[in-house]
Amino acid sequence: MASRAEHAGLDGSVETGDSYPGIRDLAVIGDGRTVALVSIDGTVVWLPVPYVDSPSVFASLLDARRGGRFELAPRAPFESRRRYVPETNVLETTFVTEDGIARVTDALTLPVGDGLVPFRELARRIEGISGTVGFGWSVDPRFGYGAENGSIGLRSGIPVATGRGRAVAVCSWDAGTPHLEAGSVTASFGTVAGSAALIALSIADQEPLVLPSRRDVERRLEGTVASWRSWAAEREAAGPWHDQILRSGLALKLLVQSRSGSVAAAPTTSLPEEIGGERNWDYRFSWLRDSAFVMGALLGLGCTDEAEAFFWWLMHASQITHPRMQVLYRMDGAADAPERPLPLEGYMRSRPVRVGNAAAEQMQLDIYGDVMQMAWLYADARHRIDREFGDRLASVADLVCDIWPQPDSGIWEVRGSARHFTQSKMMCWVALDRAARLASTGQIPSRNVDRWRSEASSIRSFVEARCWSDRKQSYTQAAESEDMDASVLLGAKFGYGDPAGTRFSRTIDALRRELGRGPFLYRYMSDDDLRGEEGTFLCCSFWLAEVLGLAGRREEAVELLNELIGFENDVGLYAEEIDPSTSSFLGNFPQALTHLALISAAMSLTRAEP
């Protein structure tokens, strides 16, 4: 249960000064097009519109003074607890004050049911449970990442904010009389047992606003709950970690762009890997690094439609750079992702705030292994790869034969000079192995299969001779290095080596010894040409749990997985990293790769259950 000791509201407005919520205190809602982050104190602190990679309307998460927010909370001191409405992405926050209890239900509604549907709609229903609770609310939109206040006026008696081709209508029912002041819409009201108030933001982008009726909003809210439940009911998530797999699946679904099938690495930008530091990146792109995990999770969950859409999207997006592939593509499939800083304060003054991602221009060899593994999983699930895609995948394998000896930036996109990263080489082996397997099943042309096998053998010789340390008894981060890197665990996961074999068994022990902090793992400890330090990397810990299971060390694996699950936040979500000493979340949130790694580990251990 979270609490806020003091309230500093004036005339119904709720002020939180320039404080930032803990990343652990955030929950996500979404509609398959964009997402909103809601803090445990009831404030919507992040909302890009119309898509997840668009500029924001609310971004107080990145600049508490200028970012814009939607506050809704009791005016008296309160405690709050929350959960998702079971099997949905609809959030329920229960506020407890000295005088009563009230519940707020938040959703980005889906365009379900009849009637004219707003372009985007954020609905917040406030119900009195017991006693009386005085609420204050304030909608403070700022367009274009806080760059423009926009103008606010009344249209048909409804407050409307406009700016940058967008408009936000603040519709409310039984939620007090809205006042327009200094760029904000504010009001206050009270709840009693059985009362219900409703606030809906109808948002338009380059089109006229739809001003919904209360009945339509209520119906959409109910329809949204039903739609999520229907989706969740079709998922395959059996076993002891059913709840965690399903919640991760629901979080993943929020990161899937419904219009294209692409999957965002996270719905946020620049939540820092170190508070006050410069390790702040925009993750609102689809990373090929994640592709094998995405395909594995979607197929494992029984999301065959989403799996097919993702495969088609990736093959189409990478067509323009074929046979080379980029580290990441934009959600709409475009290849350019120019990086620039925004004039924002940054989360807890962590600067710069970046949009775009320069990693798009890096060379990262491991992605070819991820993509070929993804294609193998897709084909193995009885999907047919057509001739055009088959030809292209074969050309990708040919390319890997040519470029694997080159140094690259590695899975972690190190911004210094290129190196011969071990995991990159292992994944090149995976790429050629999967290509040969696809050829043997007739899914891709087999004309160069002998070359693929021969080059795969050369890669193995390279890794075994130059990427193993006798002193550390471990695969190392890079050739001729003594540094450690948790990403080599993926070599065991994707079949480069036997997880139970001598070298990987010793590597597991060495990684826990050198990079471990309790149940967590740092991804590496070596210099990466960036200032400052970072937290432990959550996906690496889940990879470790899975590889322990694959190595036959089930007891250790289950113990580790259960321990890691204990560090989810109150609604079952994870960020990219965790501070091992305080358990605070760090980095973008919620992070696809962390949830994908959880799904992968939990499903793998469930399958291997004795």
Binding site: G30, D31, G32, R33, P50, N89, L110, P111, V112, V117, F119, D205, S227, W228, W231, K253, L254, V256, Q257, S258, R259, S260, G261, S262, D305, E306, E308, A309, W312, W313, H316, A317, Q319, I320, T321, H322, D332, G333, A334, A335, D336, D386, R387, E388
Partner: protein, 161 residues
């Protein structure tokens, strides 16, 4: 000026337009593939979609050539230059409204700005000026349509002589 000239121009113009777009795709300038976009509206089988898409594309080629003919007939003038001007307008309309707005509305497998979590799109939408398929797509599409228009205009003018 005869309708047969327009149809002949439509056939040759579509042939050239399709070849230009395919060439631009092979040169990695764009990912646009109009026959594929049209064909996948009818079937999810990629191979069949391309075959059906080419037929549909030529059908539209004839349809637009007939439209050009109607305009030339109404103004009493024709020629390759006038055809090129109409082609420019045609290309701009295709990029900004026809393929960007109207196609996603009727295409059962294409996402649009309202696609949400209760649906799964199999085909990415083109975006304004079809830039989702590559930044150079609008230029390629405009040039191809100008050439199409010039050919149709030229054939119609020739059929008058």
């Amino acid at each position: 000026m005869t309708i047969w000239g327009a149809l002949a121009g439509g056939f040759v113009g579509t042939l050239v337009l399709t070849t230009m777009l395919r060439g631009a795709s092979e040169l990695r300038l764009t990912r646009i593939d109009l026959p594929f976009l049209l064909g996948t509206a009818l079937t999810s089988d990629r191979k069949r979609a391309k075959a059906l898409g080419y037929i549909a594309h030529f059908g539209f080629g004839f349809l637009f050539a007939s439209g050009y003919f109607a305009i030339f007939w109404a103004i009493g003038r024709s020629g390759w230059l006038l055809g090129a001007a109409l082609g420019l307008l045609h290309g701009a309309f295709a990029g900004s409204a026809l393929v960007n707005v109207l196609l996603p509305l009727v295409h059962p497998r294409m996402g649009d700005s309202m696609s949400a979590a209760d649906s799964v799109a199999r085909l990415e939408p083109p975006g304004f000026l079809m830039t989702n398929y590559g930044r150079r797509t609008p230029i390629v599409v405009l040039i191809a349509h100008v050439v199409y228009g010039a050919i149709v205009g030229g054939f119609i003018a020739l059929s008058a002589t």
